[in-house]
Symmetry: C2
């Protein structure tokens, strides 16, 4: 999933790396998986690198992880290159390409999110453990477990068949969690080597255990921050309360103006370019397990579902745009009370966008709206943030159908076709620079806890991922 | 002015106390007042104590300050007692009381607010300096400078007349800035010794330099905090945005519902018990200097004035109730963006109340309003905080007229009669426990920076305060 800005530093450093396999052979009592396979052995080695891309103190761990990956891919017989970027390396690997075969690019990222709050982890985020059939570690789901399944699927096919049925390109980056700042430029510079017919990414989720899931859409994103300024400093609310506008009161009014009472976004023109849901989508989604209201209530822990009228909660997440407050603040934040009128207040907003909304145009409309609705007595500054376009492709294109077949094979179940509520800006970048569409073959479960403490990935999904890769390359070759 | 809850610790400790007078005789180059008087010498000694009552690490400084004060009062020939409380001492001093004379109580406090952010002070808050005719130090205005003027006025009268014209009781506490938690109980236990006809306090402000100011009203206060809870933890705004209510969005809507667009408070029954402004008040206040719109704009630095329609800004501050957001928070507070739906959001509210509003009744109405207006999809908790009743007395009572005459004498100018926007809960407590009304003879200037960096108090106001005390006791004796 998309990058976050820098999280605070982890509580302790994971600089000392355990030699590959060492910890597994001297297994901790918590490692209760019945038999450790060579594949899991590889994954555990991969997971032990604290490759936190946002934290410069982990730059060495990110590099060590890239080098381990390079060695692994090389050992499989792939032509592998570690490319420097201004920050963390890109690793490229390819088999011997044969004229006339399909060119397939598989993307993944070996960097991970920070781990704090560390005290909420049941086990060390960089000492993977298997408990209850799941692998617990930072990056187990996002994205090391999912990407390594593809690597190991290729390894297996190469071992079994002495070759692959397609011209494969692995593209693995170490900067996804910081917004892939160098990848677009890398793609431009290596456009010819990376030319491909289709791209596959396993960096999203399955709707429920055992339900193979093909994602064909992603929401886009537009972020901004608004700051309201009133008095030159915090004022005593007794001496001045009533005379001047309170920026915290004003930010509340401004934020409230962005939605109608029923939850619909009230920003002028916000829905103008929204592509309506198709009937087949609504029908398909109504039968998708794991995303019913009861599921969403359970996974979020919210007291109730709420949102734009006329759509199910799942439709709202997958195919409708939103305006969210990611942070609001102003005035006294400590315990008890302090009777001040704050000098300023802020709100951090993000807008999830759907086809065919344009992030820049939306941000212009948002800025205009916020400025026009700024309450009296305060001054407003709107700071635009990062953005990314929404994405949609046809799940029933020839590649989409190949992916569906591969999913059916790997999981022995009928795949569901969904869109994702999150944003993977790189998918849009691939389309723009490489001219290829992306198949989203997510393997993480809804409770994978990505970006959070106790991230986890089922062993069976890891194994299914290996089968999926084998089936996918076979299907795409047809 | 009323207490605030604990501020963060000061940047460095002021534990090492300079012996009385020492630093003054070895004056720093910044002390550019032409001649240091014995009165200023006393004040500087008093100001050097970092008597920050909210910070337990300064408990020793608070006590040392109380002991210095006790010694000073004793040296003047007053019968002085330092009374222990569960926290900081109360100091009581009295002259020899004579049957049939007026009993006058003068209250003050020797504790001060924290000093952070220390880096914004031009000079050390506990190393008083005189610059541009003002004394710069924490507590110079609030309240050491004002209260010591009364002490030194009494000293002067005792020296000049070998006695006072009234039965005087000095009551000085060290807990005002933390809400006087032990004073009411102290008053109850010492009710007989503290019996008095009238009370005088100099712990408020003058409207403008040279304009003697009699305060006859104070606003009351009611504080609370509302917390809205949604998902059990912060959610990824892509994966879940649209499905559930966002507590930060909801808190904004809830806060916005508290006011009409024009600034009037929208809480049902909020204005029911508000005593209308009298015509003489509006007429008097329209002529009070220093509180015109231009003054308020200048002192606050706000881009514009704003508040309840139908009243001038000064009328709104002195005689109309308000609902203020003192703090609002939820979600990501750092730099840049983090696309979460926060698990919860809070707002800290305070309501400034006027006669004849009842804080408890208002808090019930507020709680009811907040609960009824809580947006869907979140749960609300309202935590009531501290409160204090509003206060009003007749400025033209015999004691009020005596105070006006004393102000006229001390400043050689016609006094103005005002109410204060702030709250001094102890004034209401005095009325309830001791049965006496309070004269508010404020000496601080509007830019005194109380509770803020660079607190200051004009030397001429300090000197006028000494004259005021002498004139006041004379007038009250009549």
């Amino acid at each position: 999933m998309e990058a976050k800005t820098s999280d605070p530093e982890p509580k302790f450093s994971h600089g000392a790396l355990v030699p590959r396999g060492f910890a597994l052979r001297k297994a901790s009592p918590n490692v209760n998986h019945p038999s450790v396979t060579p594949e899991l052995d590889d994954l555990f080695s991969f997971l032990r690198f604290s490759s936190i891309s946002t934290d410069s103190r982990h730059a060495g761990d990110v590099r060590a992880c890239a080098e381990w990956l390079t060695a692994k891919l090389t050992s499989m017989g792939l032509a592998t290159e570690l490319h420097e970027t201004p920050k963390h390396p890109v690793v490229i690997a390819r088999n011997v390409h044969v004229e006339g075969r399909r060119n397939v690019l598989i993307y993944g990222h070996y960097d991970v999110q920070p781990v704090d709050p560390l005290e909420l982890w049941t086990s060390d985020p960089f000492k993977p453990e298997i408990r209850d059939g799941r692998i617990w570690a930072r990056g187990s789901a996002d994205n090391k477990g999912q990407m390594l399944a593809h690597v190991l699927g290729v390894e297996k096919t190469l071992r079994e068949n002495q070759g692959l049925p397609v011209n494969l390109i692995f593209l693995f980056e170490g900067e996804e969690e910081i917004g892939s700042p160098n990848l677009a430029s890398f793609l431009v510079h290596h456009r010819d080597e990376l030319r491909c017919d289709v791209i596959a990414i396993s960096d999203t989720g399955m709707v429920a255990p055992g339900v193979p899931t093909l994602g064909y859409g992603l929401r886009g994103l537009a972020c901004c921050e608004a700051i309201l300024r009133g008095p030159k400093g915090d004022l005593h609310s007794g001496l001045f309360g009533g005379a001047v506008a309170n920026p915290a009161t004003a930010i509340a009014r401004l934020v409230a103006s962005m939605h109608e009472l029923n939850g619909r976004v009230a920003i002028d023109g916000f829905y103008d370019d929204v592509r309506p849901l198709e009937n087949w989508e609504r029908k398909m989604w109504s039968r998708v397990p794991g995303v019913e209201d009861a599921d969403l209530l359970k996974v979020t822990g919210s007291p109730g579902l709420f949102g734009e009228p006329g759509y199910t909660a799942t439709e709202r997440v997958w195919a409708r745009p939103t305006a969210e407050v990611n942070g609001i603040g102003g005035g006294y934040q400590g315990e008890g009370s302090k009777t001040v009128i704050p000098a300023e207040a802020f709100v951090k907003l993000s807008f999830r966008l759907v086809p065919d909304q344009n992030p820049r145009q939306i941000m212009n409309r948002v800025t205009d709206f916020l400025q026009r609705h700024c309450p009296p007595g305060v001054e407003i500054e709107v700071r635009p943030g990062h953005d990314g376009k929404p994405y949609i492709t046809d799940p029933n294109s020839k590649y989409g159908l190949a992916a569906q077949t591969a999913l059916r094979t790997a999981f022995d179940a009928e795949p569901v076709l969904i869109r994702e509520g999150g944003s993977i800006p790189i998918v849009q970048t691939f389309r723009e620079i490489l001219g290829a569409d992306t198949l989203l073959l997510g393997l993480a479960l809804p409770d994978a806890q990505i970006h959070a403490p106790n991230e986890n990935f089922p062993v069976e999904n890891f194994e299914a991922g290996i089968r999926l890769n084998q089936a996918l390359l076979g299907e795409l070759a047809r």
